[in-house]
């Protein structure tokens, strides 16, 4: 567990250093995700004993992903006044745009998938 957490934090650290160092518009943890993929490739390719138990911490975090958004969500409750002046426009935009985005994305995905012969 501790070893796998250290690997995850190491990947994130590498990602943050890369993103900030090169001024990339990608979040550090996303580059960290790519680094973690490389770690998993190394594990499967060479099976070094040190990478044998690299999964538990990540599995644990993903199983409770909802929990991790609670502190930010509570922040919204205390800051709803920033919406006050334009609340109707903002509520309409968020609901409409989210629904339209979901529909456009899923339909585009399916149309292209079918076009290349994936049922």
């Amino acid at each position: 567990m501790i070893g796998s957490l250290a690997v995850i934090l190491g990947c994130q650290l590498l990602g943050e250093v890369t993103a900030r160092g090169l001024g990339l518009p990608v979040p550090g943890p996303v580059i960290g995700m790519a680094a973690m993929v490389a770690v998993l490739w190394l594990r499967d390719r060479f099976s070094p004993p040190v990478l044998a138990g690299v999964e538990p911490a990540g599995r644990f975090l993903l199983a409770h992903l909802s929990l991790l958004f609670v502190p930010a969500g509570v922040g919204v409750v205390g800051n709803l006044d920033v919406l006050a002046a334009e609340w109707l426009a903002l509520a309409a935009a968020l609901v409409l745009s989210t629904v339209v985005t979901l529909v456009v994305s899923v339909v585009t995905f399916r149309v292209v998938a079918r076009a290349i012969g994936q049922p």
Binding site: C11, Q12, G15, P25, V26, P27, P29, V30, M33, A34, M36, V37, V39, L40, W41, A57, G58, L61, L62, H64, L65, S66, L67, L68, F69, V70, P71, A72, G73, V74, G75, V76, N79, L80, V82, E86, L88, A89, L90, A92, A93, L94, L96, S97, T98, V99, V100, T101, L102, V103, V104, S105, V106, V107, T108, F109, R110, V112, A113, I116
Partner: protein, 245 residues
């Protein structure tokens, strides 16, 4: 700290002690989530019984009732908030597990990314523009589908208010998590790659958390969409806003 001086005695001294450390609000957050997750499970993971929404309502009500400000709460909750970064790294696990399917889906994902990204930013900006809101609000809502950290830096670079963006991002996440399941079922979409990718693109990590509740493949594709849409939106928002200025 606990015994208190002549002024701070008994219950009040205990309260002061608790509010000065992270213990109280960290515990409250975990208990609220445990309760919310139990309710969600009891409700058969019904979309309306969203554990994020229930936990936020419980904790928010407690903060208001106890007159606690957000900064005090966050002193405790920051330990949980910090784990968002490591959790993003951990998305590599399902991604690696399903890599064959992911590679096979590259083309549909790319098409959905371009269309979805433009519509996510464009439609939100178009609606608030039709209401005649000030320019600052146009800027703040453009990256609302992107993961919070990146969305705030996009807004900041365009001269908008990142605090407003943060609130809009979280609300977008919750809306997406609430509507995705009934919407996709209504459309008759049974391809969990497509369903997951759409919800990750439209409503980032909160939508992804919902996707993992429904199906592991949906969660995997939602996680990929978070990263891709962050890059895509950062690239298109400056152009989109320059059209309206």
């Amino acid at each position: 700290m606990r015994g208190g001086t002549g002024v701070m005695k008994g219950d009040f001294a205990l309260w002061v002690y608790l509010t000065q450390g992270p213990l109280l609000w960290l515990t409250v957050t975990l208990v609220a989530y445990a309760l919310a997750d139990w309710l969600s499970l009891r409700a058969g993971r019904h979309p309306l019984a969203n554990p994020v929404l229930i936990s936020v309502a419980l904790v928010g009500a407690l903060l208001v009732a106890s007159g606690t400000d957000y900064a005090t709460y966050f002193d405790g909750a920051q330990f949980i908030h910090f784990l968002l970064g490591p959790a993003t790294v951990a998305l590599a696990l399902p991604l690696w597990e399903h890599r064959a399917l992911v590679v096979r889906s590259a083309l549909p994902m790319l098409a959905a990314l371009v269309a979805g990204s433009v519509v996510a930013a464009g439609s939100a900006v178009a609606v608030v523009w039709a209401f005649g809101v000030p320019e600052g609000v146009l800027v703040a809502i453009a990256p609302k589908s992107v993961t919070a950290g990146v969305a705030m830096s996009i807004t900041e670079a365009q001269g908008g208010d990142p605090a407003l963006t943060a609130v809009l991002v979280i609300l977008t996440g919750m809306i997406g998590a609430l509507v995705v399941t009934p919407l996709m079922n209504g459309l008759g979409i049974r391809d969990y790659r497509a369903r997951g990718f759409a919800v990750g693109l439209a409503s980032h990590g909160i939508g992804t958390a919902r996707a993992f509740q429904v199906d592991p493949v949906a969660g995997t594709f939602a996680g990929i969409a978070i990263g891709l849409n962050a890059v895509m939106t950062a690239l298109i928002v400056p152009g989109l806003l320059s059209v309206l200025r």
